[in-house]
Amino acid sequence: MTLFIEQCLNGLQFGLLLFLLAAGLTLVFGIMDLVNLAHGSLYMLGAYFAATFAAWTGSFVFGAVLALGATLLVGMAVEVIAMRRLYGRDHLDHVLATFGLILFFDELVRLIWGAGGMSLPLPSWLNTSVRVLPGVDYSAYKLSIIVVSLAVAAFLYFLVMRTRLGMLIRAGASNREMVGALGVNIKLLFTLVFGLGAALAGLAGLMQAPILTVQIGMGENILILAFVITVIGGIGSIRGAFVAAILVGFIDTLGRAYFTDLLRLTFTKETAATAAPALSSMLIYLLMAIVLVIRPEGLFPASSK
């Protein structure tokens, strides 16, 4: 039971982390109609920046804040240099151009930081465990990821639904030309939104960095997951991304933890042990296929357009 609660918390933590990534993707897609494969590269950069800055300043928190700023700047630079020219183009063009960016960023990271991975050590005050329920201890760091992600989700909701900037963002999503015609600096707005998405990806990357090793290509696997989430949730819908991210986080984590036991009920021990890892990695793709067959627009189709 203790283990089950711990796995549930892991699922929640992973889901929230995925939400940070998916929120950026879905924001950029919903507003600029832009498919950004290079989102995973920004996630990777966030992790590398955090590891580097934390080593420089000697402080995890300072490193994280600096890394966040740096990813924001990189994101805005990418928008100004490349993405800006892709609006209104075919989705295929987006896929190709951002695929090129992935190659570029992967190689750039290899050039600067070398092919070997890096690690981001946790400060001692985070490297402990906290009693979350009577008899259940949970990693303080993972708990703090949950707290930070929830705070960011709340902030995003507030930003998009309750502020003037959010109003412009939503207006831009439903009709770009009209918002531009009304005198809003749509170029700047897009740069800001892209930067915001990049910062969210960077935040996810730097928070994941102490748990996994920081390495080239770390953004690629998780990017696909983030895409699956945006598609399940309905592209352009932040609420959908939130629900789908939590769903995927739980299914993936619990699937990995319990699928072997589940299979053992009906199959032999060996079959279960060999088939389970592959099948549990497939679960979320299966979920996506089912969702798309039943609701081709995702769970919460964005009402815009």
Binding site: D93, G100, L111, I224, V228, P277, A278, L279, A289, P296
Partner: protein, 315 residues
């Protein structure tokens, strides 16, 4: 349709002629490496030709085309592992299995459109990737070495590198011809019509879903053939064959060469792989050049190489 001889067709045919003569050059200079490189190029060009049918002519942005490369390859690899080395079984099985997967994936994916289609094909390819990576009996993540290439009757010997090259080239020419015939047939016209305006095609009575699905299955089957060849070429299959970046490479080839053109995929495959080879000779960090180059092609050279050779569009 009578082929009109223009610059693009001429260059395409000249390139094919150069590929036919390549082994002679290799014999004269003795550079075996070139033959290996170009066998690989020809095989991947075949995969790109198959993708061009649905991407270029059908407007279906499949981001999971490498899955069939892997499925075809694994069909050969797994049969060889189980002791069935005859190509007369291996190759038909590779084609049938690829066709079957294309049918299932296509039937589900074609219910969606636009960016959802890109993503769902990607997801299916990743699923296939994880299935194969989980097959512990066949090497799992590490892949599977093929001890013996596909066996055919007497004069055909795939272990003979020159002969194998010519077989691949012959199949590539066959595929280019097949796709050319297909797109200029009634079926191809309907497919291209569905690309331009799906609603209108349905309004005038074409069941576009079936046309697109048929195109999807043909493309998947052809790519499965390329997979079977690739497995024989490298004597090795691994899940990496169907990783999503490989699907990206195939899309690059098609777009770089020129979407929806007869020889475009061939141009693209030759250009991309030769470029990779040249750049990796210049610097270890060659992708730092290739990435932005890709961006520039997307931004400024939409028609790809085919478009540079002539402005008029096909079909």
């Amino acid at each position: 349709m009578i082929p009109t001889f223009n610059l693009r067709t001429t260059v395409g045919l000249l390139l094919l002629l150069a590929l036919v003569l390549l082994p002679v050059y290799v014999e004269l200079t003795g550079s075996r490496f070139l033959l290996t490189l170009f066998t690989r190029i020809v095989i991947l060009a075949l995969a790109a030709v198959s993708l061009n049918l649905i991407l270029g002519y059908g407007g279906m942005m499949s981001f999971g085309h490498a899955a069939y490369l892997g499925i075809g390859g694994y069909a050969v690899g797994m049969l060889a592992f189980e002791g069935i080395t005859t190509g007369f079984v291996q190759w038909p099985v590779a084609l049938l299995v690829s066709a079957f997967f294309a049918l299932v994936i296509g039937a589900l994916s074609l219910r969606t459109r636009g960016v959802y289609f890109i993503m769902i094909t990607l997801a299916f390819a990743q699923m296939a990737y994880y299935i194969v990576a989980g097959l512990a009996r066949y090497g799992g993540d590490d892949g599977l070495t093929i001890e013996k290439r596909s066996q055919f009757i007497a004069p055909i010997n795939l272990s003979n590198k020159v002969q194998f090259y010519y077989i691949c080239l012959g199949l590539l020419c066959g595929a280019i011809y097949l796709v050319w015939r297909l797109v200029n047939s009634r079926f191809g016209m309907a497919l291209q019509g569905a690309r331009s305006n799906d609603t209108r095609m349905r309004a005038i009575g074409f069941p576009t879903y079936r046309y697109k699905l048929t195109g999807f299955v043909i493309a998947g089957t052809l790519c499965g053939l390329a997979g079977a060849l690739l497995a024989n070429h490298t004597d090795f299959v691994s899940p990496a064959m169907m990783y999503w970046t490989r699907s990206g490479d195939l899309i690059i080839m098609v777009v770089l060469g020129g979407m929806g053109s007869t020889f475009g995929p061939l141009f693209g495959a030759v250009a991309l792989l030769v470029l990779e080879e040249v750049l990796s000779g210049i610097t270890e960090y060659w992708q730092i050049i290739l990435g932005p180059l890709l961006l520039l092609v997307v931004l400024f050279a939409r028609g790809g190489i085919d478009g540079l050779l002539g402005k008029a569009r096909h079909g």
